[in-house]
């Protein structure tokens, strides 16, 4: 679906494309600047493939001087800029703008310095997430955040989106694992945020930049905190006859004082899809499945494992298995890690949501989701980072059937609003991007959104960085409120919704 920035969020300019290409060519080599239709087409979406826009120009600089020159020209000519890492984001944060420059940071892929003594690594933003852990492994260290796209996604994108993964409960999100960053502002200042110490002087701008979705500046360097590799990890798999039982088991594990490295839940449609796909040995009949991973030193893990086992048993697990060797653990995780593609096999398209809820409302929220799915006539499989309350409902639909994508999006919007209603949030780890920008109007008041806009202007007075993402304009919210979809009924089904 072609996506256009809301009119109130558009940056208008009348710069001639050929002229701007000439200006940029003074700083970029021919293969570092793409302008032909067929060259820019591959960049028209990120991991959210339902939102597409053809970028005006694509720049692939390889030095900070080039970056500075591109930003300077954009600032002078009022041209919007969208930064992009690997383009794996799921919320359209790197969705291009049809009159803007898409700034690809994929050539910034050096690991600059490994500092094992301070357990830090300094990298350029285009370094892949998993490449970090691979590079520092010989020092007995690793980088904890592991978003599911870690083979491909880049550190710059991870910081911009404040990415999570399955280990957030114990090890935190990206914001908890970054020590410092260098941020290039539109006017060419290189700001050093954070430090190699445990804190820095002044405002915590590093925390602010984490999850800022490319709205504040361009990251050119990131220093990550590393952890010693755990001595061992054991995984428990438990099947339950009801989602309620599984939810109680999760609460009891946390209530007992255990802090698992991973605590994941899947519902029956997700279990069956995963089992058919990778044959991980999951109980296909179970209503819910829990994977509980404990890591650390051996004595600790053994003690924790026994307690977790007892709790899962007491909560009425109908299946209970333990994996202590790496091969068996990998097999247990294979199903969970393949859950998205597995669901993808069941349906031509699926739409992945990312709400977070207080865990105690889980059964109620899953009930609400199932009810909404029935109302829309769409199937839903649920994958849940149960430890931290982050829910990923996967809505199955067929984009080739007229109106089905719109139905899936309306159902998704309803699910997110349900998350807000029960005290949660519209996005736990994927970011707002273009995808959930309307739901920001539900979660935040006009005064709060205004505060966000003022904050952005402190970094980017002209609003050129990633307009139309993350923070909605009040005009958009007014319009959204007026045509708010409720109960699956579009008030004006004949109208296009952008």
């Amino acid at each position: 679906m072609p996506y256009r920035v809301h009119s109130s969020e558009q940056i208008r300019h009348r710069v001639d494309k050929a002229y701007f290409v000439r200006l940029l060519s003074e700083h970029l080599k021919p293969d570092e600047l793409l302008s032909a239709e067929e060259d820019v087409k591959p960049y028209e979406c990120d991991g959210l493939s339902s939102h597409r826009a053809r970028p005006w120009l694509v720049a692939l600089p390889e030095s900070i001087d080039q970056l500075r020159a591109v930003l300077g020209l954009c600032q002078t000519h009022n041209v919007p800029v969208v930064a992009r890492g690997a383009g794996t984001g799921l919320s359209g944060g790197a969705l291009p703008i049809d009159n803007g420059v898409l700034l690809c940071l994929s050539k910034f892929r050096r690991i600059i310095e490994i500092d094992p003594a301070n357990r830090l690594v300094r990298v350029e933003p285009g370094v892949r997430n998993s490449a970090v852990s691979e590079a520092v492994r010989r020092y007995g260290l690793y980088y904890a955040p592991d978003p599911s796209s870690q083979i491909a996604c880049t550190i710059g994108g991870n910081v911009a989106e404040n990415s999570g993964g399955v280990h957030c409960l114990k090890y935190g999100l990206t914001v908890h694992n970054v020590a410092a960053a260098k941020l290039l502002t539109l006017d060419g200042e290189l700001l050093e945020l954070g430090s190699d110490a445990w804190d820095a002087s002044g405002y915590d701008l590093l925390a602010l930049v984490c999850g800022s979705e490319g709205l504040l500046g361009i990251l050119v360097e990131v220093t990550l905190r590393l952890l010693p590799l755990p001595e061992t990890a054991h995984t428990l798999l438990a099947g339950f006859d009801s989602v309620g039982q599984a939810g109680r088991a999760v609460a009891d594990i946390i209530g007992a004082g255990l802090l698992p490295a991973g605590l994941e839940m899947m519902d029956n449609p997700a279990i069956r899809a995963a089992e058919q796909f990778v044959h991980a040995g999951y109980p296909s009949e179970a209503a819910a499945l829990i994977l509980c991973e404990l890591d650390g030193n051996l004595a600790q893990v053994e003690a924790d494992r026994e307690r977790a086992h007892r709790i899962l048993e007491d909560c009425g697990a109908s299946t209970l298995r333990i994996a202590t060797d790496p091969a068996e653990r990998m097999r247990m995780w294979a199903g969970r890690k393949a859950a998205f593609p597995a669901v993808g096999r069941l349906s031509p398209d699926y739409y992945c949501m990312d709400g977070t809820i207080p865990r105690q409302r889980l059964a109620e929220v899953l009930g609400g989701i199932a009810e909404a799915g029935q109302r829309y006539g769409l199937a839903i499989a649920n994958v849940f980072h149960a430890g931290d309350g982050n829910l990923h409902p996967l809505i199955l639909y067929d984009a080739n059937r007229s109106g089905e994508l719109e139905k899936a999006e309306a159902l998704g919007a309803e699910i997110l609003e349900l998350c807000v209603t029960v005290g949660g949030t519209i996005t736990g780890e994927h970011g707002v991007g273009s995808e959930k920008i309307d739901q920001m109007c539900v979660q935040f008041s006009d005064a709060e959104l205004n505060q966000f806009h003022r904050l952005k202007r402190a970094f980017d007075p002209a609003g050129l960085l990633n307009p139309g993402k993350a923070i909605p304009s009040l005009h958009r919210c007014a319009e959204f409120g007026a045509m708010h979809v409720r109960g699956g009924r579009l008030p004006h089904p004949e109208l296009e919704r952008f």
């Binding site: 260290l141 935190g172 030193n297 003690a303 952005k456 970094f459």
Partner: protein, 355 residues
Amino acid sequence: MDHGNDDTENLLTAVRAAIALRQPLSIQGGGSKGFYGNAGSGAPLDVTGHRGIVAYEPTELVLTARAGTRLTAIEQILADHGQMLSFEPPHFGPSATLGGTVACGLSGPRRPFSGSVRDAVLGLKLINGHGELLHMGGQVIKNVAGFDVARLLTGALGSLGVILEVSIKVLPRPETEATLRLAADPPAALRHMQALQRLPWPLSGLAYQGGHFWLRLAGAEQAVSAAAKRLGGDCPEDQEGFWNSLKEQRLAFFGGQEPLWRLSLPPAHPHLSAWDDTVIDWGGGLRWIKCPDPADQLFNLARQAGGHACRFRGGNRAEPCFQPLPPPLLALHQRLKQAFDPLRIFNRGRLRPEI
């Protein structure tokens, strides 16, 4: 649960009146950390009447409380449920409040192992310099909607708004903790700390004080005793006593009239040999020294080491106590202040003379 008192309306009225009169305000919690930061100015705005724990569900690992709630009350209710504040905040007096703790952003010995105040902050309610009530962040562990204003306000010393309510992630208390003590000089202690942090030992404290290297282990009983056996050293009688005295600065070192400096450095930075009389915390990341030297000398030293310095207590309070910022960064700080508090109503001068 004591639901305390909701003073939001009074505080909003007071702030709006101050804005109308352009009257600077000095936000007052329990006053336990009044010594910290620059002197600041303004008419007092007392937030201690806005108190009480608003929500706490142990299995969610989240607690929400009003800013004026005493830290002791929060730590008590958490302890009753086998949980704790992960960042082990210093109180510096019985009147310490949650709001002041978040505004000062100070964390205790556990910080390198289970995170800082800002790591634990999930969301907060504030009054900005436009007299608006804002709710930033959330009450769930994972939330990336909107800019992370809650963490921006953590450690901002009240300069961006009046913190009214905070949601924080809490952690289970370790089943067991054990403290070990080994004789060591500062360089040897730093070497120990570095080596231990390269491996997955069950640590919750690494410090140096008074000719000894101190380490605290935390976790399951089996894990702690197995580690203690391998590491050696003696077990002091009052195990918690040392860490409390370190965090609350009750060790003899912290007494006296000389200005106390806090140097936050990369943990592996070599011992600062000019100061053998030192206390080291955070596995080498925090060096406390007493020094009458001109501030610039220490600021330079810390900057060259890759960290920053702060005159924590004592000395001339008319002199800025925090490490100066490079001009572009200072300008950004001023623009952010402008974005939240354009009339500079809140805690004027407390964080920086220019803020």
